[in-house]
């Protein structure tokens, strides 16, 4: 360890706290967005549920990349751990449990699919009109977020800081209750004999 280490360390800490130029470029955004949308299309069109799940994983990871571009690294990390690492494994597990070759040979779309598609098209028209008409609304309004203290800020909002309750502490506890109920529900639902 060199003697200059401590000073170098302090400077590293200060540099990390200050803002720094993002490496991401528009090109990065477009490729991630394209990946997300294309694999989103694959999710809803594949015959085989495992292929759909793999496509969904790609979507989730590219959305995580988009979060990183939006200076939300913690949300990106949560997205990778909870979605890609947790929920998708659960999905794959269930697909294997109910693995029916029949399901992939069956008719894939329900009988009222034209109605559903039409409804979705109406929804899309709504979105398009909102985006086209309200273009001017969606420009940056506030201070740019600091990427490096993102986790601390989220922690402060969730758990409170300096002895005060955070704005979201109560919601956080309710969320834990929700998870508990979900765990119980899932166990009761799947267990053959309790």
């Amino acid at each position: 360890m060199n003697p200059g280490m401590h000073s170098a360390l302090n400077s590293a800490v200060t540099a990390a706290n200050g803002g720094m130029a993002p490496v991401a470029t528009p090109w990065f955004f477009y490729s991630l967005a394209a990946l997300a949308v294309i694999s989103g299309v694959l999710v809803i069109t594949r015959r085989n549920a495992v292929h759909s799940a793999l496509a969904l994983i790609v979507t989730l990871l590219s959305v995580a990349g988009l979060y990183l571009m939006l200076y939300a690294p913690f949300v990106a990390g949560v997205q990778i751990i909870v979605y890609a690492g947790g929920i998708m494994v659960l999905f794959l597990f269930v697909i294997m449990l109910v693995n029916l070759d029949r399901a992939s040979k069956d008719r894939q779309f329900n009988r009222i699919w034209p109605v559903g598609l039409a409804a979705a098209c109406v929804l899309m028209a709504l979105f398009v009109s909102v985006i086209v008409k309200g273009k001017a609304l969606f420009t940056d309004r506030g201070m740019p977020l600091s990427e490096s203290s993102n986790t601390q800020q989220i922690a402060n909002a969730l758990y409170g800081e300096a002895g005060r309750m955070g704005q979201y502490t109560f919601a956080f506890e309710i969320a834990s209750l929700l998870l508990l109920v979900a765990i119980l529900g899932a166990v009761i639902m799947t267990k053959k004999k309790i």
Partner: protein, 432 residues
């Protein structure tokens, strides 16, 4: 030289290339790490076979090169040339893509592993979260491989290993959180998730987290050390590829290059989780006692360690050369081993020269270079200890049964890690 190369080198701030925004150097680091990890996997392969053989009173590979030194290369060539069989009933695309998922997950985590304060691709703000998340993606590769093989043994292996990895991730994550909690025990009260920040926190607090609040840090470390063996599907938790039960588990149907990708991913994941353990509890790149023995003379003595390590290896190799049987059959092997010894000796000499040169001029390039070598050396040394432990476990212990494994994961490790987390928090508040 162009500015985009030199600006990073000239910058006085100690930053990783990713944090400094130098894409060129980030890419160089990525390549170096990729090559280094591949080389480490090759070395690990050789070491595992030799060490396991010596545990088991046999010699291990002896024919390909002196003491089987070239065996991993021969194996790699064999595996690449081998026919790559895809079963007819398999899901072709998924079968093809599964090893790549595992490999991708195993190698992506290396972007945030700090081999030194600046020797990392990037210092991510969510480093440890990113590492846990990405390494947990490896399970997808295994599940999907087992499913795509469309065969019973791989399917059972895949289900076993996914259940195992998901359950041990919980205990692992809680152990990691208790280490992260320790990073916040400073004056400002803010912790960090950044891998480099965690090591620096240990530096500031003057103690490796394994010794912090003894035995709390040690228990958390032990839980992580157990969970990481389960996480990488190694003995005694190698149920996913339990040879005597499931022939080869999830990769039963794989062969050739694709199989070797699984092996590469497994070993890369082993190194990665060991690196997490080293970073979180064993002071990362720090040498022993940086705050007690910080006199320049100690600096110098410790900076000689890498050189002397290589010198020792060279000496062992020379002894091996001398002890080769005097038969003409061994002539080529003897020459090869001698060349290897000379190579090691040359590296040792180079490292010693750098160490000595770094001493005389404090802020020179040599000093920077010497520090870099020191950091990487101590980090790799600590990781190597873990790698050896992996081999040792494999030689010593029988395999757990699936229900026992689950019982340990959920009923023993999880409560203990939760308890350690709570007690660490309480002690942290009291101490503060």
């Amino acid at each position: 030289m162009p500015n985009f190369i030199m600006s990073y080198l000239r910058s006085t701030e100690a930053l990783t290339p990713g944090s400094a925004g130098s894409q060129f150097w980030a890419l160089i680091y990525v390549l170096i790490i990729f090559a280094g990890v591949s080389l480490a996997v090759i070395c690990m392969n050789w070491l595992e076979r030799k060490a396991l053989a010596h545990f088991q009173v046999r010699l291990g590979p002896m024919r390909v090169g002196p003491h089987g030194l070239l065996q991993p290369i021969a194996d790699a060539v064999k595996l690449m040339l081998k026919e790559d069989i895809i079963p007819t009933e398999a899901d072709q695309f998924v079968f093809w893509v599964a090893p790549l998922i595992g490999l991708l997950a195993a190698f992506t985590v290396y972007t945030v592993i700090p081999f030194g304060p600046t020797q990392a691709v990037s210092d991510m703000n969510i480093g440890i979260l990113f590492m846990l998340g990405v390494s947990s993606l490896g399970v997808l590769g295994i599940v999907v491989a087992g499913w795509a093989s469309n065969s019973h043994y791989p399917l059972i292996g895949a289900l076993r290993s996914s259940a195992q990895m998901v359950s041990y991730e919980v205990a692992m994550g809680l152990a990691v959180i208790s280490a992260i909690l320790m990073t916040s025990l400073n004056t400002s009260g803010t912790g960090t998730l950044s891998m480099i920040g965690i090591v620096q926190a240990q530096q500031q607090q003057g103690v490796w987290f394994i010794f912090k609040f003894f035995p709390l840090g040690f228990i958390a470390f032990a839980i992580f050390a157990i969970a990481m063996v389960a996480e990488t599907n190694r003995a005694p938790f190698d149920l996913a590829e339990a040879e005597s039960e499931l022939t080869a588990g999830f990769h039963t149907e794989y062969s050739g290059l694709r199989w070797s990708l699984f092996m590469l991913a497994e070993y890369a994941a082993m190194i990665a989780v060991s690196a997490i353990a080293v970073t979180l509890w064993l002071g990362g790149w720090m040498r022993p006692f940086p705050n007690l023995l910080h006199a320049p003379v100690w600096e110098f003595i410790f900076s000689l360690c890498p050189g002397f390590t290589f010198a020792g290896l060279a000496a062992i190799t020379l002894i091996g050369t001398a002890r080769m049987p005097a038969h003409s059959f061994f002539k080529i092997q003897r020459i090869g081993l001698a060349v290897f010894a000379v190579l090691l000796g040359f590296i040792a000499l180079l490292l010693l020269v750098i160490a000595v040169a770094g001493r005389s001029a404090d802020i020179s390039v040599a000093a920077r270079f010497r520090d870099g070598i020191d950091h990487v050396y101590w980090f790799v040394l600590k990781v190597a200890v873990f790698m050896y432990m992996f081999i040792w476990y494999r030689a010593t212990w029988p395999r757990y049964r699936f229900d026992q494994l689950m019982k340990i994961g959920w009923k023993v490790m999880l409560p203990i890690s939760l308890g350690v987390l709570v007690v660490t928090a309480i002690v942290g508040v009291i101490v503060k």
